[in-house]
């Protein structure tokens, strides 16, 4: 007879850059109300369902791997979320943006309307709860707004979505269509002619995620 392990796994959390920003605002937006789990760093090709020692060893190469510490950059962590789907799911939802990157000149605007493949038995589906759009550096846009979802959470996020506070922080909005306008501020470029950011789109129902690079090119006429 042995002892059963009754210990609860305990881990220490750190604030993200966004968390610090919201905590500093002091307007109640920091309040933690939900969680998500992710499998960042896991390579499922290491899972071996043909392991000669049996099913207890299928995940041997994954379960013993050391993990990195948490990153405070909210755009670089929680990339691949675990999702709750019906048992028997054979294909995972995939988000389609219709483009693999976004290139804009200063003050130019563009819109994106994502679709989700392999979700709710449809080939191309607009998720009912919409999508979260996260840009890694909000300073690069004079306008970053989403429309099409009218929930309280979407309204709270989309309010003031066009304001930049001068710091390199991410910005998240909720909707079915994203409209973004590249900044006209030349000083952000410094001695460079191009600015870079990443856009992350996550389906709020499916959990599907896609990330694409965004490039802003400097024009000499902008002020």
């Amino acid at each position: 007879m042995g002892y059963l392990n009754n210990q609860v796994v305990t881990i220490d959390a750190i604030l993200t850059k966004k968390g610090r920003e919201l905590l500093a605002k002091g307007d109640g937006s920091f309040t933690i109300t939900q969680f998500a789990l992710s499998d960042d760093e896991i390579d499922y090709t290491l899972y071996n369902p043909s392991h000669p020692s049996g099913s207890a060893y299928y995940g041997e190469a994954i379960e013993n791997m050391p993990l990195l510490e948490a990153f405070p950059d909210e755009t670089q962590i929680m990339k691949y979320k675990l999702t709750t789907l019906p048992r028997g799911t054979a294909v995972m939802p995939i988000i389609s943006l219709g483009q693999s990157n976004i290139s804009l000149r200063q003050t130019a605007a563009t819109s994106i309307t994502p679709q989700t493949l392999n979700y709710l038995s449809g080939n191309n589906t607009f998720e009912p709860s919409g999508y979260t759009f996260t840009i890694s550096d909000v300073r690069l846009f004079s306008n970053f707004t989403a429309t099409g979802v009218n929930t309280a959470a979407a309204t709270a996020l989309n309010t003031n979505s066009t304001s930049t506070n001068g710091t390199n922080v991410s910005k998240t909005v909720i909707g079915t269509t994203l409209t973004m306008t590249a900044t006209g501020v030349n000083t952000l470029f410094g001695s460079n002619n191009t600015l870079y950011a990443t856009l992350i789109v996550v389906g709020r129902d499916s959990g599907a995620r896609v990330q694409i690079p965004v490039t802003i090119s400097k024009t000499s006429t902008s002020v």
């Binding site: 609860v8 796994v9 305990t10 881990i11 220490d12 959390a13 750190i14 604030l15 993200t16 966004k18 968390g19 919201l22 905590l23 933690i32 109300t33 939900q34 969680f35 998500a36 789990l37 992710s38 499998d39 760093e41 896991i42 499922y44 090709t45 899972y47 369902p49 299928y58 995940g59 994954i62 379960e63 013993n64 791997m65 993990l67 990153f71 909210e74 929680m78 691949y80 979320k81 675990l82 999702t83 709750t84 789907l85 048992r87 028997g88 799911t89 294909v91 995972m92 939802p93 995939i94 979260t132 959470a153 979407a154 709270a156 996020l157 998240t172 709020r204 129902d205 959990g207 995620r209």
Partner: protein
């Protein structure tokens, strides 16, 4: 769905007290004391001396505490203006600490049974003590011409706590680590119960301040002092703070240092993350699928998927990631497993 609401009962706020040594590099006892000739020569040197744990020119040098001499009559330093007798940095110091601690311009510093018109103020650098000093942990050795004494606060034996404008006030008494010396002086004060010089001073943990009664320290060793000579010349820079630093140095040179801990209140959120058997069994990880069709990597994953949890993300109502925690190793999750993780978030 990727997000799961946290049940209000799964979020607990806890407050813990954290104690640590106050000196740099987690050194429990300070035995080396250095001043900066540059700082002493500047205007601030007329008010206080900064004390470092190593030579002030060393790259690791950090101010540990400051020593100020305070005098009601303005003695021990040059007057600001010869036309105004008594108005000097030491008088300014006295008024500053009187306002801070007593909050009444008519009040005086009474150490035990002695009303003091001059004393030394040792204020600990804020970065060292963090929130407050931890009463009952101090042992400070001072050496002088009459010998050596060790001082501590009487928080462990005080019948009640005295509060002033600067918070809690304890008497500095003879002893160590909060244990009051009861050998010859039953109350631990210099000169015993009939002392004419009172206690050795005050210990004010909430503002990181220690006041040393110069009169008590000037007594002979037989009366509980160390023969510390405090000079009270008019309109003369007597550099009295250096006398306290020297007293600490002499004791430290014989490995009798200054031990003191800090106390910090740390508020933590404990969030219990529960993943039920039917939840979080599929992944959006690119390696979980094969090709661009979205098909799961292995056929066995269709009915018996296994995911590996490495990260817990905490979100606000608008899906913004505000805190994140990593596990030390991947935890497998499938339709036969449930998970309970306690996430601790310190503020």
């Amino acid at each position: 769905m990727s997000f799961k609401s946290i049940d209000p009962q799964d979020l607990v706020i806890s407050t813990d007290s954290i104690t640590a040594t106050i000196w740099s590099n987690n050194n429990p006892t300070l035995i080396n004391y250095f001043t900066s000739s540059v700082q002493v020569a500047t205007n601030t040197g007329q008010y206080y001396y900064s004390v470092y744990q190593t030579a002030s020119t060393d790259s690791t040098a950090a101010v540990q505490f400051n020593v100020a001499y305070c005098d009601l009559l303005g003695s021990g330093s040059e007057f600001y203006n010869n036309a105004v007798t008594g108005s000097s940095p030491t008088r300014t110091n006295y008024g500053q600490y009187r306002t801070l601690i007593l909050g009444d311009e008519n009040a005086g510093f009474i150490f035990g049974n002695y009303s003091a018109s001059y004393f030394y103020a040792l204020n600990i650098e804020r970065a060292r003590y963090k929130e407050k000093l931890f009463p009952g942990t101090m042992t400070m050795y001072l050496s002088g011409s009459s010998g050596k004494i060790s001082l501590t606060d009487d928080s462990k034996v005080a019948a009640s706590i005295t509060f002033k404008d600067a918070g809690r006030v304890f008497n500095l008494v003879s002893g160590s680590a909060g244990t009051v010396f009861t050998g010859t002086n039953t109350n631990g004060w210099a000169g015993g119960a009939n002392s004419t010089s009172g206690s050795y001073g005050w210990f004010l943990p909430d503002v990181g301040l220690i006041l040393l009664n110069a009169q008590a320290l000037s007594s002979s060793i037989a009366l509980g002092g160390i023969g510390l000579l405090t000079s009270r010349s008019f309109d003369t820079a007597d550099n009295n703070p250096a006398r306290i630093v020297d007293s600490l140095k002499i004791a430290g040179a014989n490995n009798f240092g200054w031990t003191l801990n800090s106390e910090e209140t740390l508020s933590s959120d404990f969030i219990f993350v529960r993943a039920r058997n039917g939840e979080f069994n599929y992944s959006e990880n690119p390696s979980f699928i094969s090709g661009s069709t979205g098909a799961v990597l292995y056929n066995s994953f269709i009915n018996n998927p296994t995911t590996y949890i490495t990260t817990v993300g905490l979100y606000n109502q608008t899906n913004e990631l505000v805190a994140v925690a990593k596990l030390s190793r991947p935890l497998p999750k499938d339709f036969t497993k449930e998970l309970l993780v306690r996430v601790k978030l310190d503020f």
